[in-house]
Subunit: 208 residues, 2 copies
Amino acid sequence: MISVMIVDDDPFVSGSLKIILDNETDIEVKAVAGSGEEAVKLASSVDPDVIVMDIRMEGMNGTEAAEQIIKNGSKAAILFLTTFLDDEYINKALKIGAKGYIIKQDCGSLPSSVRAVASGQAVFGGKVVEKLPDLLNRKDNFDPAEFDITGKELEVIKLVADGLSNKEISEKMFLGEGTVRNMVSSILTKLDLRDRTQLACFYYQKMV
Amino acid sequence: MISVMIVDDDPFVSGSLKIILDNETDIEVKAVAGSGEEAVKLASSVDPDVIVMDIRMEGMNGTEAAEQIIKNGSKAAILFLTTFLDDEYINKALKIGAKGYIIKQDCGSLPSSVRAVASGQAVFGGKVVEKLPDLLNRKDNFDPAEFDITGKELEVIKLVADGLSNKEISEKMFLGEGTVRNMVSSILTKLDLRDRTQLACFYYQKMV
DNA sequence: CTTCGAAAATGACATATGTCATTTACAAAA
DNA sequence: TTTTGTAAATGACATATGTCATTTTCGAAG
């Protein structure tokens, strides 16, 4: 018998989910939480096999709650539900170690997803997989403003990360070579880097 | 009722899988193929909901067969089985549009995986997900041997792509700075690049 | 018009880098 | 043992790079 905890801040949704899952003979909904905070508390007392959790909630959201629950030592497999494609979250969900990420819309497949997750597999909604390659590549959003990087400097960064020399950059941007040199220097200072190679590394690791 | 086709060049394996799946009341094994070629033929005549297929087979391998089957217009969800972690294939499997990639070892979870896949979800073996971020980012184009790049040189490349100077690299590898300089020079020649920055770019674009 | 400030440019300098010819070290092969 | 081949090191050199102080340009604000 698979024991499940449902977490959703919309009572209608959590109710529906409960009905769907309780209808299965091999699945038992042991608890229903209405918030991330409640989920954290219940998780340790109920200790379910699977946690079906909405990822977007008021207050503590799904990933935060999951992080806490895992930190508390729960062995539960966490299955995230999302209304549509909340791109932003999937990356974090994977990092945390979630075992599933599926779309609320097709709740018909929920029971089989729960079983698959309970048996150690990871499940992703059909559409999610297709986007996976792109989503995973996404870096932590680099905000040029935060480092006082101007538009022109951003352009220089890209050209450096393309392997161009100062001279080549100057020709491409219609500037003097010395100017480019100064710009690179200023960029390096702002980003606390040492040389253009480190700048290229920074670009590929944090920006692209 | 979910109709399934099994593909594996090892009769013992395909037999076992058939027994496991036929044991489920809602799953029916409609066909068993012993090779990729046979799978392609059978797929169009049997038209199963799910194809459970070994990825590593003699002759036409799993991904090739899958590619052909999909091209032939089958709507079957394809679930790849792999003996261990065949890293190389998962990338291709995802590109093709496979719906699952799980480890043969835990065949106990196979039925639930089949159901999940049949209902439109995508399933990955537990260990696979953890490696997913790395695997997806891998660019499979670069072969060090093709460019005569030795192991030590490969190490240097990585350190350059980490933003280290020749001096820092030399300390890390217990070599003279001049030696590192020569190695970098030789690498640049082999890869037809101009400077270390281009090398870093190459690394991030073609290798990592 | 003048003033002001940012962007662009210049020149000088120290250092890092890449290339090349040559030498040394050392282990495998003869 | 000698020979040989390769990795490692050295030294010399030209060039690219990064930093800094200073100057020029030029458009907007006064």
